[in-house]
């Protein structure tokens, strides 16, 4: 307590240089080129990657038949699956920006204030996955590839594709209602973010508690809306891909995955900004606390993952276990490795590396943990969605790397652009002083 510490200048603005912009645009284009190359190679029975499609296609087809699938998967399924999966993943990371801000506003937390501009910047990306997902949903050919329930004739008793169980879900899974839900998630999440952001920026100009209270009111609205829509969005975007299957835990499991990936993104952004000489006022106590949240929510994710798995394993009901059976040994076992990697990267590694106090104050350890969590949750969404979309055509190779590179480049572009629009420290936030002097 005795030592005086210097508070660095609070006037910092992030310079999003034209060179960086150019790099990001080029890498996004390279990603697209990689997907094109991958598709070209696969069409000519070649591939670059860890697993390739095509091998064991006969077994895959047999599996697909046994599972009551109505259409075989193709290379197109794999590409569409990739775009959908990355959209959902990056959508989640973006929306967790508002979620993080909202619960901290509502809980009157002070510690995070010095870096609050970072989570505040993430949601600007929501519009990109929103547009892509709406596009994929509106185009019938991609919709049918992603969603079993959208297959032609699946709800029509006269059709040979008729599936009685899926037809029983038509009250929820139908084109109109699904579209309304999608649009309202995107629009309302984005709108509430713009309001929180607006009042936060106005606060920089005027030192008045009014703006804080305004942001806080919108944060409450967001939390109420997100409490329900985080689950419904999980059912819609991920669970309904495997239309027959259901699990009450799925909504919170999906949210846990989004949330911890969002925390890792916030952390990584802070660390990279610090590396470049920004965010000097974010001290190591704040970083330590954010590290604890990453640690805690990695365990929370593992907890919901394990609870869901254990209960389904234990009760051993075929309509539920099929989901894990497909992932553990279905389609020639091609989803087994992602299934295991998921647990290692999202629980085992972060748990061990973030356990000690000092590792939550060490930039390198934190970056390793962030990398592990971000890659890990990519695998999490991969194993949630690809078995249902790409089926026996799933793989991990240049197509996956390319799609992810494009999404990541676009994401960084949007976030960097948003960061450059305002002062990097929320200057007049009523809890800023607490955060600047935060000491644990």
């Amino acid at each position: 307590m005795a030592h005086k510490h210097e508070i660095p200048s609070l006037d910092e603005s992030f310079d999003f240089s034209p060179a960086l912009r150019k790099k990001l645009i080029i890498s996004a284009i390279i990603g697209v080129a990689m997907v094109a190359l991958g598709a070209f190679l696969l069409n000519n029975h070649m591939s670059i990657g860890v697993w390739s499609s095509g091998h064991g296609a006969e077994h895959g087809a047999a599996d697909a038949h046994a599972n009551g699938e109505h259409h075989g998967a193709t290379l197109f399924s794999r590409i569409i699956g990739n775009i959908w999966m990355n959209s959902v993943y990056f959508l989640g990371i973006s929306v967790v920006g508002v979620f993080f801000l909202s619960y901290n506003y509502v809980a009157k937390a002070g510690w995070y204030t010095s870096f609050k501009r970072v989570p505040e910047a993430l949601p600007s990306f929501i519009i990109v996955p929103a547009i892509i997902m709406l596009g994929l949903f509106l185009v019938p050919s991609s919709r049918e590839v992603i969603f079993h329930w959208a297959h032609h004739g699946v709800m029509d008793p006269a059709s040979e594709n008729y599936d009685k169980i899926i037809a029983g879900k038509s009250w929820y899974l139908n084109f109109g209602f699904f579209l309304v839900r999608m649009v309202s998630y995107f629009a309302i999440w984005y709108y509430l973010w713009t309001q929180i952001r607006k009042y936060s920026l106005l606060e920089d100009e005027n030192n008045d508690i009014y703006f804080y209270n305004k942001s806080r009111s919108y944060a409450k609205m967001f939390l109420i809306f997100f409490a329900v829509t985080s689950s419904t969005a999980a059912w819609d975007f991920s669970m309904s891909i495997d239309t027959h299957w259901f699990s009450t835990m799925f909504g919170w499991y999906h949210l846990a995955s989004w949330h911890v990936a969002g925390l890792a993104t916030i952390m990584l952004t802070i660390l990279l900004l610090k590396d470049h000489g920004y965010l000097k006022s974010v001290n190591f106590s704040a970083i330590h606390d954010l590290g604890k949240l990453m640690f805690g929510f990695s365990i929370f994710w593992a907890y919901v993952w394990f609870s869901q798995y254990l209960l389904i394993f234990y009760a051993n009901l075929p309509e539920e276990t099929i989901y894990f059976r497909e992932r553990l040994s279905g389609y020639d076992g091609r989803y087994f490795a992602p299934f295991i990697i998921n647990i290692v990267l999202n629980f085992v590694f972060p748990f061990l590396i973030l356990m000690a106090r000092e590792s939550k104050r060490n930039m390198i350890f934190l970056k390793l943990a962030c990398g592990s969590i971000l890659m890990g949750h990519w695998f999490d969404f991969y194993q949630m969605q690809m078995p249902g979309i790409a089926k026996d055509q799933g793989g991990i190779g240049i197509i996956e790397w390319g799609t992810t590179l494009t999404f990541a480049s676009m994401f960084i572009y949007f976030v960097a652009n948003q960061l450059s629009k305002a002062n990097l420290v929320a200057k007049n936030h009523p809890f800023l002083e607490e955060s600047l002097h935060h000491e644990i």
Binding site: T248, I299, V304, S307, Y314
Partner: protein, 454 residues
Amino acid sequence: MSVVSPIREHLVTGGKTYHDVTEDICRHVEAKPTKEWKVAFAISVLVLLYGGSWVLWTWWEGLGVWGLNKTVGWAWDITNFVWWVGIGHAGTLISAILLLFRQKWRTSINRAAEAMTIFAVLCAASFILMHMGRPWLAYWALPFPNTFGSLWVNFNSPLVWDVFAISTYFSVSCLFWFIGLIPDLATIRDRATGVRKSIYGALSLGWTGGAKTWARYEDVSLILAGLSTPLVLSVHTIVSMDFATSVIPGWHTTIFPPYFVAGAIFSGFAMVQNLMLVTRVVYKLEDYITLEHISLMNKIITVTGSIVGVAYITEFFIAAYSGVEYEKYAFFNRAAGPLWWSYLAMMTCNVLSPQIFWFKSMRENIVVSFVIAVVVNIGMWFERFVIIVTSLHRDYLPSSWTYFTPRMGDIGDYLFSFGFFFTCFLLFSKFLPVINMAEVKSVLKSSSEKNSKQ
């Protein structure tokens, strides 16, 4: 340097000094019991004796004194067990999780909440003993090498996991509570004379109050907090698995673990709210348990009640969505079957009633807070009753469908747990400091009205 934002509410009002804190809390330990205390204690003991006689009768006569039948083989016994375990969770949440989150407001309420945890867990355990029929063989629940042949407990059963989880949880909670008491016991020791001095002296384990002892105290608190946090989650997770690992519609649902934990915290906070509101008035502790504390607890009640609400909706939705006829019927039967009234009680008490706390004036209204806390505890009892009885009474075989009606044995044994709980709590509040003096003093500088106005 630690800074507290000027917009934060004060946690200690009335311009208290360190000495005032000691006086205000120790006074009740040192004085003769008041008339109100004696009356309350006498009533609790009477209830305990009456309920205790029912427990003895249950053991003598057998479980036939309960209203169970061939279809509903689990009813009030397990409902009460889960209810009490759930209530116990708030103590650990306040003392451990809020400590990890550095919530200073926990200091005024943690002591009583932890005591409540211990008594509530004991009440829960009493139902395990009751339904065993032969309680003197209770140790058979432990996996010990034995001479009965190669008999072991069934490690595949969540009921055995319960034994491990709850006994560990109980031990750590006792340890946490006692360690937290040591500095305060030493304070009382230093003010006492005669026999009281020796008793409190022995209990305070030679506490000196030196810098080293404080450093160790803080280390141990953090370690225990780190241990109890996963423990508190594990306990209700495993309690939920008593149901969720089965294949009974309405029980087998994957959301149960986190949903039970949220519900447990919910009912626990409601019980803490009730106890603190009474203690606050009886012991005149309005400057320590302020309207801000009450309001914060109400906020947690609203959040956890809403989480539980989301879980209710999820269960209903998935039952409808699943396409499984049994699941659909189980939930339809909950809401519209013969036990519809219990479902209605659960929904209104747990999900709707706490929403009143969105209004600041309601959050800070003592009468409303007390009433809603009672309502929440009633609702949480009904939640367990709904889950257990409505799922069982109409099982797979329509010819064995039946209804459940409690008998005096059910009621008497439930009364026993109330008598036991309040007897213990009253003894605690008389002989031990109900507020953690040392920890309140530690936030006095940053959060009291007097000091931050300087």
